[in-house]
Amino acid sequence: MSETKNEYKLLLPLVPILAIIPYLAIVQGWESIDAAIFIVAAPFVAFPTILILGQVYNKNKTWKNTWKEGGILGIGALGVSLSAAIWILFDYLNGTAHFANHSVSHWLEWISFDVLQADYTMTETRILGMGVWIDSLTLMLLFVATFLCFLICWFAIGYMTTNPINEDSNHRFFAEFVLFSMGMFGMVLADNFLWLFIFWEIMGLCSYLLIGFYYWKDSAAKAAKKAFLTTRVGDVFLMVGLFILYDIYGSLEFAVVFDDPSTGVGGALVDSGQMFWALTMLFIGAIGKSAQFPLHVWLPDAMEGPTPVSALIHAATMVNAGLYLVARMMPFVDIHHHGIAGLEDFGIMVAYIGGITAFMAASIAFVQNDIKKVLAYSTMSQLAYIFTGLGSALYFLNIGNYHAGYFVLGASLFHLFNHAMAKGMLFMASGSVIHEVHHAHDHLSSSHDDGGHHDFDPQDMRNMGGLASKMPVTATAMMFGSMSIIGIPLIGGFWSKEGIIAETWAAYFHGESAMLVPAILILATAGMTGFYMSRMWFMTFAGQPKNEVVDHVHETTPWIKEPLLILTLITAIGGFVLALYGVIDFLSNESSHLAMHGDQGIVDSIITQLEHAFLPEDSQMRMVGWVTIFLALFVGPIMAARIHGGSLKDGETATPIVGWLVNLSGKFGTQDVSSLAESDLAEALQNRLYIDDLYEGIIARTVIPFADLCAWFDRNVIDGLIKQIESNSVLGSVQIRRVTTGSARDYILMATVGALSIFALLLGVSN
């Protein structure tokens, strides 16, 4: 523990950096909106700084111990971003700053130029620049991203720098980390689809670099390629979508596009068919980024990156980008605010994709033994919930039921918040488990010196068990995280998941029979989530240790616990508090501040909120709600406890709730499921339902021959052409340099020739 204490003084150099934002706010009297540039600029500056210093001072003691190979700089930059984001958030909530008209503030106007119009005149002036677009959606994502990036960077300082495998390459990690964060911040802030796309691509690049951080490992290199190429497929569609949008509106700026989505360039009415394709293309891009069926294959493999990267990609940044894009589409379909009618099919399609992915990912998660893989599939499944909710929102807004539409939109975004917080914490907790198990194993094998443990996998839950007593903080954190994801009543995700499921069913009850399928799928998934999350927790923390390594595990690594504790608090009570303060209305832009409902006192508010959650007036809703609670709270966890539960070894204790849960799980008895585990279904799930194999087969038969053809064309035709140009230029160059003989006489001769030519030319003109 003394080690932990000593390390905090390393943060002292950051004090002046972190004082920037308060200084601007208090002393200089800046508007918070003008400080938005710092959110992006700070990590943007930190990126090359860390990289260059890391190259120059590599292996330097001070750099390593005091600066943590750049981690301190990274956390400083992210701290600036976080403080600026919080400042803007507070100003927005207080309504003190000038946030009128979505607060478009151009802080980068680079150059303006004329554009060649279709009739070959140059009239219109475009400015290549960037501004900030702020509404509650931006702010929520911005807060999630800055807050989690900050905490994950904190965590990573402990996690990365104590891992000997990363020796001397951590500056690369931190540099890419801050660049990634910058991509997310910029994407959320951008007031323009083009800049959104640019930052989106920066994230794509960084995900490739970070997933492939251990590039010497074949599996990591392949996973990085897979992630990059799969999201790339989505990006191409996204680009097509942007082209269509540009075609419709003649601009990609939010201010122009969202001003009146129903009329395009020149006042023409927008065709719903064209809009449908534009949105579908954008949606495919979002699918790729957020790992939804059928472009979900990259996400489980992305676990090859270091654990902080998994937390970064799956909680704070990348996967949320797709959700953000879909949430941005609401003005297009909201027929109460100049939306385009006749797009309800689009909403239904989004809900279907969500439903299918939720169910599929949850079922695959049943059989995963790698702790991070379970979390990966859980991410996929939870994001699918949000997509389903957004799909319902799109549907409701388009048929004109804006009350339900805004509610489910808010619920979906609230779920995004809850999921991000819980999942960020779960990944960090799993990282903590992996890290400590790994250390214990290293410690053990070095003292035994038998070298027989080389195939030991510190991520495999079958090597764990009974960790509840060894890692009290991690066990508690992970318990609350899992509860939030499952949707245990009163905790985190419950408040948002309930709303999504209820409103999806409401869409069905309101007469859209097509919504039945996603509604059933996500309802079933609620129970399945209960099972696989509980299974993961029980396998890791409950029961008897399954490996001698477990006995040597201790929670000692510095920098790791603080983010876990903070996030545990937020996960445990944040959801309830925010729900109490009307966050759902805030997120759907229905209200511009957080406040308790009406003028009630706090007790009345709580009662109203609880009534709303557990005893809705509509009997159908009440039924759906109670079925969800039953499935998530009882069916899933109890089944998991029967298979994987078990009390701790005699004499070992754990923190109160954890200990109670562990002992409770032991009371459900044990059930042998080995026959089920060997069934065909289990094998299919192990193989991810053969989707990856299918893709490989299709790609091998179609894309690769085509790629070979393109490569041939490129090598022979295009390169040939360029080489031809090159050799001709070189030939010309040699010829023309012969004129430069080095003799002044020749130079004068040439000058005379020139003079005579001018003479002749002008004589011709003059007469």
Binding site: S729, I748, A751, L762
Partner: protein, 561 residues
């Protein structure tokens, strides 16, 4: 009129500062304890000139410092009073147009002075050789002593160049213009040949001088034809007669055409540029940088004065349009092609400078085409002047890096740049920025200037295309040929990327011949870094706008409405 009025003095304060500095450099190093005895008495009066020199004034580094100080002070005075307007005597007039060029020249001279301090170093503690020294030590000591001795010469000539250039920017009389150009040119010939002990330097200076004299002679002949035609060589008089004339008198037309030869030599336009690569590679880098930036700007002042100021018709095509358009395309293509296979970094930069002259001439041609609106004319002029201004940053910056290399006696082969990225990451990075900026890669200053140029040319010509064309190809057939000048610039830029990036390639991907770091020339390194930073900053921030504002103000003064 010999004496200036107070108002006139105020207008030319920067030039007067240069003059005072010039005198100072001549006088101050000669201060000593010489005394003169009054006849028939025993009173010795100190006269301070000659005798045993005082310690501070005999420091060989003094001329360099004095020059730098003079130039910096002159620059700031010029910058502070950059909107001054008024006539000085009959042949000079100050306005913001001339001031902008004054600033360009002075900035180039400041960089030249900084790098000269390390290229032709003065050492204060050199001892004369004695008999026990080895042969090589003797020759090194003698070299150092020679360098010390010629400090004064070099810097006097440098200031002379500055004086000639800044006066020529103010000239409103053709004769004055020519005299000032010759003052600057003759001084620069000496600078090129300054290292007379090296064969290349002497030869280059000689060649540059001979070809330059021929060009000047032709130009003066053209000027005499103009005098025959008009009998008055003031710009206002010439412009008035030109506007009043019915058609173009052959005498005047040929006169202007022959003057183009002289100015074409100054800007490095084909086919008068041939001596330039020799001169650049023979001269020391501080001087080569001066030739590539300030001297070129001087040529363009003259070109703009004559072509735009005097002979541009109110409407219709200028008679020199075809000539300049042809010269511009030939110049940029020739420069780029010749640079492709060159293996001497200084020659590459010389040819690149020829190509850049071609781009700017294309702008002049577009103005002369008669289809450019007033707005487009202004845009192109702004682009040309902005380009000349930022060239001081990245062209001279590149020469500064080369002069840093020259301190170890190498900069004539591409191999000398090998592995600079490993030896000196900051210097190599700056050099790379300069190369990218020369190539016109966004978001650097070089991109902005090239972009403005192309934008201006396209803006001028695009309206001439037939609006009824169905396809872009068909439309290109109908558009005025001026549009193709922009296309020529684009294609030439693509060609030029090859050799600019080659310098980057060898700096970062080839193994260095030696691992020793370069000389720790702090001020020179600082200047290089500042140039690189400004190249980036001018490209992306509003500082670029401020510079463009100053320039557009100058252009409006020049066009007059």
């Amino acid at each position: 009129m010999i004496f200036l009025t107070n108002e006139e003095m105020q207008l030319i304060i920067p030039e007067l500062i240069m003059l005072v500095g010039l005198l100072g450099i001549i006088l101050i190093p000669n201060f000593g304890d010489a005394k003169i005895r009054l006849p028939l008495t025993k009173i010795h009066l100190p006269i301070l000139i000659g005798g045993k020199r005082f310690k501070p004034t005999s420091n060989p580094k003094l001329p360099n410092r004095l020059t730098l100080f003079t130039l910096v002070v002159a620059f700031f005075f010029g910058f502070a009073d950059r909107v001054a307007t008024g006539d000085v005597g009959n042949a000079l007039s100050v306005d913001s147009f001339s001031r902008v060029f004054f600033l360009i020249f002075t900035a180039a001279l400041i960089l030249s002075t900084i790098s000269a301090a390390h290229r032709i170093p003065a050492r204060s503690n050199v001892k004369p050789p004695n008999e026990s020294d080895s042969e090589s030590l003797v020759s090194r000591k003698i070299d150092a002593l020679i360098d010390n001795r010629r400090q004064v010469d070099f810097h006097i000539i440098l200031l002379m160049v500055g004086l000639g250039m800044s006066l020529m920017a103010m000239a409103n009389h053709l004769f004055m213009l020519f005299v000032c150009i010759e003052l600057a040119s003759l001084s620069s010939y000496i600078l090129v040949a300054f290292h007379k002990e090296s064969a290349a330097g002497g030869e280059a200076g000689m060649k540059y001088f001979i070809v330059g004299s021929v060009a000047s002679a032709v130009g003066i002949y053209g000027m005499s034809l103009l005098y025959l035609w008009n009998g008055d060589l003031s710009f206002d008089g010439l412009a008035a007669s030109w506007a009043a004339a019915d058609g173009i008198d052959p005498l005047a037309g040929i006169g202007v055409g022959l003057m183009l030869v002289a100015f074409g030599f100054k800007v490095g336009a084909a086919p008068f540029h041939l001596a330039a690569p020799d001169a650049y590679s023979g001269a020391s880098s501080p001087v080569a940088g001066l030739l590539a930036t300030a001297s070129k700007a001087m040529g363009f002042v003259a070109m703009i004065r004559i072509l735009i100021g005097i002979t541009l018709p109110v409407e219709g095509e200028a008679f020199w349009f075809v000539t300049i358009a042809l010269i511009s395309v030939i110049t940029m293509t020739w420069g780029n092609l010749a640079a492709l296979t060159s293996d001497n970094p200084k020659r590459i930069l010389a040819y690149s400078s020829v190509a850049h002259a071609g781009y700017m001439l294309a702008g002049l041609a577009a103005i002369g085409s008669g289809i450019a609106s007033i707005a487009a004319t202004k845009l192109i002029l702004i682009a040309i002047i902005f380009h000349l201004a930022v060239l001081v940053l990245f062209k001279f910056g590149a020469f500064l890096v080369l002069s840093l290399l020259e301190t170890e006696g190498r900069s004539h082969r591409l191999e000398d740049l090998y592995g600079l990225g490993k030896r000196e990451p900051l210097m190599a990075g700056s050099m790379f920025v300069f190369m990218l900026s020369l190539a016109g890669v966004p978001p650097l200053a070089g991109f902005l200037s090239k972009f403005l140029m192309i934008n201006g040319i396209v803006n001028a010509s695009v309206a001439s295309g037939s609006a009824g064309s169905v396809s872009v190809i068909g439309w290109m057939g109908t558009v005025n040929p001026v549009f193709w000048l922009a296309i020529a610039i684009v294609f030439n830029s693509a060609l030029s990327i090859f050799y600019y990036l080659r310098i980057g390639l060898v700096m970062f991907f080839e193994a260095p011949e030696t691992d020793n770091p370069l000389k720790s020339a702090t001020s020179l390194r600082l200047a290089i870094t500042v140039c690189a930073l400004l190249t980036v900053i001018l490209g992306i921030t509003s500082l670029g706008d401020s510079v463009l504002d100053i320039i557009s103000n100058a252009v409006e003064t020049f066009i007059g409405n």
